[in-house]
């Protein structure tokens, strides 16, 4: 099918084909032009936004956390700057190999790796995770020299939380720790997600938790232009961060240290309150722990040691553990008897050494013939209070005691407070399931009268009740923070003493009970502990039963240490115008006069005289024969 054509025909054919090409080309270019129009005019807004998003990054500037200081300015929590080595997991492909290579130039211990793994699991996406904290200057220099080998690894200057006094007052100061998913959720629920951008630590316990909103501060922002590598090339706008507010406490950390020291290696709690304001002077729970362990993420080993210790160092006994008040309940019972008119000051009650109710004989340790109210407190008579409880009835007792805050959260500004138990028929109905358990028995009222039975109060409740009684019946919400100091302005906002209620009491009744309590420390059960004190202090011993006596005499030595009774002591001083009211509890400390009273003596000595004891308060073995 060979085709012969003349050159002219061929040229003509060629020209047709050129025209066809040109038309095709114009069509193609029209498609391109249409595409450009689509991108540059129709969708310009969208792409403009995309380009700006590419270009502009909003970087958070994390505020400095507020500091915490005691009433005299002693620093309890502060910040310091240190270098950390951080890995951004989204930019590092082989984590293990990178860490191995890093370990060749910088010390990386197995615990650092373990912590890195743990944080990595808990961390939010795209955030860098520290592999080493607190680098030395030399280590920083070594890393910087080889930085090119480690894309996605950076040295960052970060602020660290430091608790300079270590384990002192750790239960109330609390600690901060790395934010986990739950913290993140809580922050989002509070609508604070933006303010926590860039923040990786948050208050976990104590004041660090309850005053998180004050301490954290306001996050600032830097609007920067970034290049494709994510590096900031130009600062466009910025808003500085507003540091967190500082806290000034009512706490006297020296007093706190004296109190902690006085416990020695015994377990227990002490709460000291200024009766005039409700300000907490000392809040001790022994043993303590070092909150610095938590700041970088606690190691599994340290955590196990703390969490599995039989002494429960993480437990804040002062506000969370509730104990029967024992005989420290008697002054309040006496006040109830006077206020309700069931007893008069002079009235003598027969004391055969026991009290019979419903065919059951409630024992006392001594038969005294008869006792009046003053003597009943000084010698700690049981019989007097058995009969008083019987005369008052449980509803009157519960009604009177609840005014002092027994069995209710005080509202102190540290989290984790327990309610305790103020027993009443109503409480029993709610507490138990079976009908026979729900019934209130008259005999139970008798036990409640001497602070045993279902009674259970936190040391904080006990101390606050003492403070309320000695200030004439004004119940405060106890608080640890006296002032919040605003970082920007320096303005100090007082956390006002907040009286919850004024209890209707006859001042003569209060005075009578106070006088009896002062006598306790002169000639009664507190006399040995307060021998030679150059001031007058009121007190009352107590013993909380761990082991049920069931009417038998109880020989302490035969009971294993953990089953020994808890030793209690409440006190106030100076007697005429108290500036301190306190409650001491020593777990398994035996009688109140034996371990708790000597601790109270040391604390009051320091508070009034500035005297620091050299030895922890000694256990008074001789004190065992008085209750």
């Amino acid at each position: 099918m060979t085709e012969f054509r003349s050159p002219d025909q061929e040229l003509q054919g060629f020209r047709v084909r050129v025209v066809v090409s040109l038309l095709f080309i114009l069509a193609c270019f029209a498609v391109l032009a249409g595409r450009f129009y689509h991108l540059q005019v129709v969708r310009h807004e969208y792409f403009h936004t995309r380009a700006e998003d590419n270009r502009i990054a909003l970087l958070p500037v994390v505020p400095n956390r507020g500091t915490i200081a005691d009433r005299n300015g002693a620093v309890l929590a502060r910040n310091y700057a240190a270098y950390t080595l951080e890995i951004n997991p989204s930019q590092v492909r082989r984590l293990d190999e990178t860490i191995d290579a890093l370990a060749e130039i910088i010390d990386i211990l197995p615990r650092d790796r373990a912590r890195f793994r743990k944080i990595l699991e808990e961390s939010r996406n795209f955030e860098s995770v520290p592999i080493r904290t607190r680098l030395t200057d030399e280590e920083v220099a070594r890393f910087v020299a080889q930085r090119y080998r480690f894309p996605g690894v950076e040295v960052q200057a970060r602020l660290f939380r430091d608790y300079p006094l270590g384990p002192v007052a750790s239960h109330l100061i609390g600690y901060i720790g790395r934010m986990n998913e739950r913290d993140q959720q809580r922050v989002e629920e509070r609508g604070e997600a933006a303010n926590y951008r860039g923040t990786d630590h948050i208050g976990k316990a104590g004041l660090e938790l309850s005053y998180e909103a004050d301490l954290h501060g306001t996050t600032g922002f830097e609007q920067v232009e970034v290049n494709a590598g994510g590096r900031a090339v130009r600062l466009l706008a910025s808003q500085t961060a507003l540091p967190g507010n500082d806290l000034e406490l009512t706490l006297d950390v020296e007093l706190q240290q004296v109190a902690e020291h006085a416990f020695g290696n015994r377990r227990g709690a002490l709460v000291a309150i200024d009766p005039a304001t409700g300000g907490v002077l000392a809040l001790v729970s022994m043993p303590t722990f070092d909150p610095n362990l938590f700041v970088d993420g606690i190691s599994t080993k340290d955590w196990q040691a703390l969490n599995e210790s039989e002494d429960l160092p993480l437990l804040n006994r002062a506000i969370y553990s509730a104990y029967p008040p024992g005989s420290t309940f008697k002054p309040f019972m006496a006040l109830a008897g006077l206020t309700t008119g069931k007893r008069t000051l002079e009235q003598r009650v027969p004391d055969p050494g026991y009290f019979i109710y419903g065919g059951h004989r409630f024992m006392d340790h001594k038969a005294r013939g008869s006792v009046n109210l003053h003597e009943s407190i000084v010698v700690s008579s049981n019989t007097y209070y058995y009969s008083l409880a019987n005369d008052l009835g449980i509803d009157n007792i519960a009604g009177f005691m609840s005014q002092f805050g027994f069995g209710a959260r005080t509202g102190i500004d540290v989290p984790g407070e327990a309610e305790g138990v103020l027993p009443s028929p109503e409480w029993k109905r709610n507490r138990f399931r079976k009908p026979e358990q729900q019934r209130w028995y008259g005999g139970e009222t008798i036990s409640v009268g001497i602070g045993q039975g279902y009674n259970a109060y936190t040391p904080l409740q006990l101390a606050n009740a003492v403070a309320t009684m000695v200030n004439g019946g004004r119940l405060f919400r106890p608080h640890l923070v006296s002032h919040v100091v605003y970082a920007g302005s320096g303005v100090r906002r007082a956390v006002e003493p907040r009286p919850v209620r004024q209890i209707e009491l006859d001042p003569r009744h209060v005075e009578a009970v106070r006088r009896a309590m002062v006598e306790v420390n002169k000639t009664g059960t507190g006399a040995r502990a307060f021998a030679g004190a150059p001031y007058a202090a009121g007190g009352k011993t107590g013993t909380a039963q761990v082991y049920s006596l069931r009417g038998q005499r109880y020989e302490e030595g035969k009971v294993a240490e953990r089953l020994r009774d808890h030793s209690l002591f409440i006190a106030f001083a100076p007697a005429e115008a108290p500036t301190i009211a306190l409650a001491v509890l020593v777990e398994n400390g035996g009688f109140g006069s034996q371990s708790a009273a000597p601790i109270a003596r040391q604390v009051i000595d320091y508070h009034l005289l500035g005297r620091k004891p050299e030895q922890p308060a000694s256990e008074d073995a001789e004190g065992a024969d008085v209750q």
Partner: protein, 380 residues
């Protein structure tokens, strides 16, 4: 008769005579645009690109001085050399970035496939000249074989961009030589159908494990990424996403020269080479992009004008093919940068950075100038 060749006036006339001022003017506009864009996209390469431009203009001048007949005499040796070198690459070539394209010769290394962009259309034009007036099937079958051998060698290197351009150059010669419409139209339709199928069934075809016979995995990825850039926004899709953002954010009038944020903050990859068009579109907007299309149309019109007045069948075919190749470069490049064609390594003609491509393109312009100088005077 005295020898006047070294008289200063004649020297200049001799230098200038081969040059077509219209083509040179268009070229000057394009090279000027390249200069401006390079300052913005990659100022450190400015120096090197000036040297490249000098070399390319020299090559253009040499080609322009050669007569079309002399060019045709080079067709067979150039083609033969090219095919031999391509076989050598396949046998001893150097592998770089997963493809075997380079051949070491003593001190330097060369990419023989680049030579074929000129040698293949030259060879085919020469061949059709030999078969002038005999437009039979056998002629086209032989032409097809002459084209298939080098294209096949380049495809298996693999170098999709270059093989596409070489194949296109050859196909254009065959088209202008008069391949029957009865064959062209069904082939075009088949091609369109294939494209449509890929677009429609892209999702299934792009599943991992689906083997595209004849194409390498990375070539499959390029097509798939074009169909849906978001499937790999940080990897292969990043190029297309960022360049369309650059183009779109340029708007009607652009962000201004040196003020393109996508360009200057390095979001556009390969912004001095294949993706330089997005720099233009970002900084000069739709106005700049359309202006460039306009300049290219001027170049193509001038090229076709020259082709239609060409002195011989061979030069006519060659001029037509070269002009259409210029279009192909421009269209494929702008199409891929704006996201309507897959990313194949084709530079924006006369503007992208890179010496080899610029020399090849300017050789083409020189050939056009040579054909123009030996044009047949218009009858009218």
């Amino acid at each position: 008769m005295t020898d006047n060749r070294f008289h200063p006036f004649n020297l200049i006339r001799g230098l200038v005579r081969p040059i077509d001022p219209v083509l040179l003017g268009i070229l000057a506009v394009l090279l000027g645009a390249s200069f401006l864009l390079m300052l913005s996209a990659s100022p450190e390469r400015q120096q090197a690109q000036l040297v490249n431009t000098g070399v390319a203009l020299g090559a253009m001048w040499v080609a322009a001085r050669l007569s079309p007949q002399r060019l045709m005499n080079l067709a067979v040796p150039l083609y033969a050399l090219g095919v031999i070198l391509l076989f050598a690459v396949a046998a001893f070539g150097e592998t770089s970035k997963g493809a075997q394209r380079w051949l070491h010769i003593g001190v330097t290394r060369i990419q023989p496939s680049e030579l074929m962009k000129i040698a293949v259309p030259l060879m085919l034009a020469w061949y059709f000249q030999q078969r002038e007036g005999v437009a039979n099937l056998q002629t086209f079958v032989v032409a097809g074989v002459l084209l298939a051998v080098p294209v096949g060698l380049i495809v298996q290197q693999p170098d999709l961009g270059t093989s596409l351009l070489v194949a296109a150059a050859g196909i254009y010669v065959i088209y202008y030589a008069g391949l029957s419409w009865k064959l062209i139209v069904p082939m075009l339709l088949l091609g369109l159908l294939g494209l449509g199928a890929i677009v429609l069934f892209g999702d299934q075809l792009c599943q991992p494990g689906v083997d595209w016979h004849g194409l390498r995995e990375y070539q499959k990825q390029r097509v798939c990424t074009l169909l849906d850039p978001t499937r790999d926004p940080l990897g292969k899709g990043f190029h297309i996403i960022q360049s369309t953002i650059a183009i779109g954010s340029g708007g009607l009038f652009g962000k201004g020269w040196m003020d393109g944020t996508q360009t200057h903050l390095a979001f556009i990859p390969e912004r001095h080479t294949d993706f330089i068009f997005s720099v233009l579109a970002e900084e000069f907007g739709l106005v700049g992009a359309l202006a460039l299309l306009g300049v290219y149309i001027l170049l193509l019109v001038r090229g076709y004008q020259i082709a239609m007045r060409a002195p011989s069948v061979a030069s006519r075919l060659l001029a037509g093919a070269i002009t259409t190749i210029f279009f192909t470069y421009a269209f494929v490049n702008m199409g891929m940068v704006s996201g309507i064609l897959p990313v194949v390594g084709v530079p924006l003609p006369f503007i992208s950075y890179g010496g080899t491509a610029l020399v090849t393109l300017c050789l083409g312009v020189g050939i056009l100038m040579s054909i123009h100088r030996h044009r047949v005077s218009t009858p009218d």
